[in-house]
């Protein structure tokens, strides 16, 4: 009851015209930068930060958080239309979203991703209001040992991502793990596999790899193939999801929201790993797992919902513990500190107007985003009608600028270029990019968690079994790995159909 009264108080703050305006500006900029690959919420918040010094902290935070979740709405647009993730975290949406667009179903894909994001954003907001203390408590219980077992579970799902050859998928995962080990050793600070290129000291950044492997390689493999254009242009069927789409997507949206909400709150996990997990869960539960990756709507709905609820739930450790779990989370925290507000256990007590105002603004922001995004769908779909000669130049420009602006570093552009060529070769020889991306995200997390655990346990591997939460994760992993043996026929069928 108390929560509801406070929430009403929050709405009173949010619905003040000035805050409503900042909320709108935030989600509008968020959508725009979400659509633009490479220019992420971090760069934008950093740019806008000085401008916000002059305005009231509550309005400022309403705007800045609007940028974060607005970017998640926009991020899927280019994934679906052009196979370039607008944000690295939209990479999972590429898998089925782009295939839907190729079948002329870009509209429903965009529609379900906006609606899914809205539903997830709203549900997770209520989760945040009523379960924040529980989730925050859970988040700090996960130490290095638990994190390691969680990552082991994550790596086990690579096997489910495979569509074609399992051997090829595992090879790609191994290559991803290798790429993840490039750079400074997280424990001893020794530099590995960089061949004296100091720009590689921090490892290979994810965004340029994703842009190269998915976006530019698509351009490369289409250059000179003039026939393909008709496939796109011929049949754009329906602009919004139909009844069947809704029937197929409702449960995936609910499951994606749940997965994103709980995993997103864990510090350091981010929103990519939850999305891969959400995608694989759908594939596992589906009656037609073999069709995943060819443009099924569940493959878009679930990760998009997951994405948005993860962004919302990362506000739990940020506001209640003062622990940012992503780069832009860290920026929001920096912003708060400049305003003289200390995020942490006392925030809700000391700054109720800020906490409840921002919470309520997230709901209002989600409504605004839906209103903003649905009418844009027909417009976005028309982008596919732009002649390829223009569209491809546009993709190239976006990817080059995007990968540079990620860290203001030219090396990232080179990494993107190398990855586009690799991506082209991978496509040609039917190796899939998704296992590589998952392994590249997981590898460094897995390694540091393992080595930190062993430092703490003085080298004893028993730490992973004596910690109960960690043991549970490992048991789930074992089940995941044994399960396919039971259902081998179904997956086997899918593999045959593919080859």
């Amino acid at each position: 009851m108390e929560t509801l009264t406070s929430l009403l108080y929050g709405f009173k703050i949010t619905l003040m015209p000035i805050n409503l305006l900042y909320c709108f500006i935030g989600v509008f900029i968020g959508t725009l930068i979400g659509v633009l690959p490479g220019i992420g919420p971090s760069a934008t918040i950093a740019l806008l930060l000085p401008a916000t010094f002059k305005i009231n902290p509550v309005s400022a935070l309403i705007m800045l958080s609007g940028i974060c979740y607005g970017a998640m709405y926009g991020g899927s647009t280019t994934s679906i239309l052009l196979n370039i993730p607008g944000e690295p975290s939209s990479v999972v949406t590429c898998l089925d979203g782009y295939q839907m667009a190729r079948k002329g179903r870009a509209g429903p894909a965009l529609g379900i991703s906006a609606m899914g994001s809205f539903i997830a954003g709203t549900l997770s907001l209520f989760g945040l209001l009523f379960m924040a203390p529980t989730v925050a408590d859970l988040a700090i219980r996960l130490g290095p040992a638990e994190n390691f077992s969680l990552m082991v579970m994550g790596i086990a799902i690579v096997t489910f991502l495979a569509r074609g050859s399992m051997v090829k998928a595992l090879l790609m995962a191994a290559f991803g793990l290798f790429l993840g080990s490039i750079g400074t050793d997280p424990i001893t600070a020794k530099v590995r596999f960089t061949y004296h290129m100091r720009d590689l000291n921090d490892g290979i950044a994810l965004a340029p790899v994703v842009m190269g492997l998915f976006g530019v390689s698509e351009v490369l493999s289409n250059v000179g193939v003039a026939i393909r254009r008709e496939i796109f242009e011929g049949k754009i069927k329906g602009l919004y999801p139909n009844k069947q789409d809704w029937k197929d997507s409702s449960k995936p949206i609910a499951r994606g929201t749940l997965i994103g909400f709980f995993l997103g709150a864990l510090p350091g996990v981010g929103s990519i790993i939850p999305q891969f997990i959400a995608y694989v869960v759908e594939k596992k539960l589906s009656k037609y797992p073999e069709k995943f990756g060819t443009g099924v709507i569940e493959g878009v709905a679930s990760p998009e919902a997951c994405n948005n609820s993860a962004v919302t739930s990362q506000f739990i450790p940020l506001l209640s513990l003062g622990i940012p779990s992503t780069g832009y989370g860290a920026l929001l925290m920096g912003a708060l500190m400049i305003y003289g507000i200390q995020p942490g256990p006392l925030l809700i007590k000391n700054n109720p107007d800020l906490f409840w105002g921002v919470m309520a603004s997230m709901y209002v922001g989600n409504v605004l985003l839906l209103v903003l995004n649905l009418p844009l769908i027909p417009l976005w779909v028309r982008i596919l009608k732009i002649p390829y000669s223009f569209l491809y130049s546009l993709i190239l420009i976006l990817c080059v600028i995007g990968s540079y602006s990620y860290n203001n570093n030219v090396t990232d552009v080179l990494v993107m270029a190398v990855c586009s060529v690799l991506g082209y070769l991978f496509k040609k020889y039917r190796y899939e990019g998704a296992p590589l991306v998952l392994a590249l995200v997981l590898g460094p997390l897995l390694e540091t968690a393992l080595r930190r655990s062993l430092l703490i346990s003085k080298g004893s591997f028993m730490i992973f079994l004596t910690h109960p939460i960690s043991a549970v994760f490992l048991i789930i992993t074992a089940v995941i790995l044994i399960f396919p043996m039971v259902t081998i026929r179904r997956i086997g069928k899918g593999l045959e159909a593919e080859e």
Partner: protein
């Protein structure tokens, strides 16, 4: 509809170009005539970034040109250091330096290509954020001594989280370890932010972090501060004893922030900049903002700053040698 698509497309193309556009260059005698780049060697949102942005904002008011913060994170801050050395020495690029990239990294890491005394000119020292040793709020220890007694009775049981190998927090821990000869294990994390949940969750016994990050938890009682690196107790945290009053005055490495330009910058330019920094750093508005962000503001002029750098260098190099934490080539 077609017009709309064209408009959208042009916005998409033009927006990032505008974002990346920094003022054009021209030859000049007067300084400054165009915008100044402030290179921040860490990612946006951290303590250094916050401090540097506050200063940049105030400096812009004094110099009446834009001061643009540019984040060049990576490799313990040395990416930013290497980057600014590729710039012209004309005073249009300022390095927001901390002990990490200019003192610790060259001593600890094997491949840092510059020397703070040969390649940089100190312009102004801005402020520091003290580091604090923290344990869980409900743990039995009340001071560093209690914890060390426990560590001596239970060799190898105490683990300490730091913000990473070679960072200020790590060096403070190594000083404590070499002074007391207690058997404790160092567990490096990716950033100071990761240390707090690890201590809260009981995954490591204690942690070292900047007071700005650990402060809210100390105020809420979920963390307990056992010792702080500042010379006096902080007014906001009267319950946290200093290391010096507990008999460890040597554990005093704070995370400081100061401003450097590259060697070869003309003397008049350095003079103008130093005067501008003095005015900016002494402005009450800036001090208020910086204190809110956890900084202890204390202006030092170029000579004092240089002396401070030399002292820090001598102290850190001694610790690095004694503790043997330099990474082999």
């Amino acid at each position: 509809m077609k017009k709309w698509s064209c408009l959208m497309v042009s916005i998409i193309v033009v927006f990032p170009i505008c974002v990346l556009w920094y003022g054009g260059a021209s030859a000049e005698e007067k300084y400054p005539t165009r915008s100044i780049e402030m290179v921040i060697p860490f990612a946006p949102g951290g303590a250094t970034d916050v401090g540097a942005r506050i200063t940049a904002d105030e400096l812009a008011k004094v110099l009446k040109v834009a001061v643009t913060p540019v984040n060049k994170p990576g490799a313990s801050g040395t990416t930013g250091g290497a980057y600014i050395l590729t710039k012209k020495s004309d005073g249009y690029a300022i390095f927001a330096a901390t002990g990490g990239p200019v003192i610790n990294a060259p001593l600890v890491l094997p491949d840092v290509s510059y020397d703070v005394f040969k390649d940089f000119i100190p312009v102004a020292y801005f402020a520091s954020v003290p580091n604090v040793f923290v344990v869980k709020g409900d743990s039995p220890w009340k001071s560093l001594k209690d914890l060390i007694d426990y560590a001596k009775k239970n060799p190898g049981k105490v683990t300490c989280g730091s913000a990473g190998t070679g960072t200020e927090s790590h060096i403070n821990f190594e000083i404590l370890k070499s002074l007391t000869k207690a058997d404790m294990t160092h567990v490096p994390f990716k950033s100071g932010g990761d240390v707090i949940p690890a201590v809260l969750g009981g995954h490591v016994t204690m942690g070292v972090n900047v007071i700005a990050a650990a402060g809210p938890q100390i105020k809420a009682g979920t963390l307990k501060g056992l010792g702080i690196t500042s010379s006096k107790r902080l007014p906001d945290y009267p319950g946290v004893p200093t290391n010096a009053e507990q008999g460890f005055p040597q554990i005093n490495v704070s995370t400081w922030l100061g401003y450097l330009v590259t060697a070869g910058t003309p003397a008049p330019v350095v003079k103008t900049l130093a005067a501008a920094f003095e005015k900016a750093i002494k402005s009450p508005e800036l001090i208020q903002k910086a204190e809110k962000a956890g900084y202890v503001v204390e202006y030092k002029n170029p000579q004092e700053f240089k002396k401070y750098l030399e002292e820090q260098y001598a102290q850190v190099s001694k610790v690095v040698k004694e503790a043997g934490i330099a990474v082999p080539k």
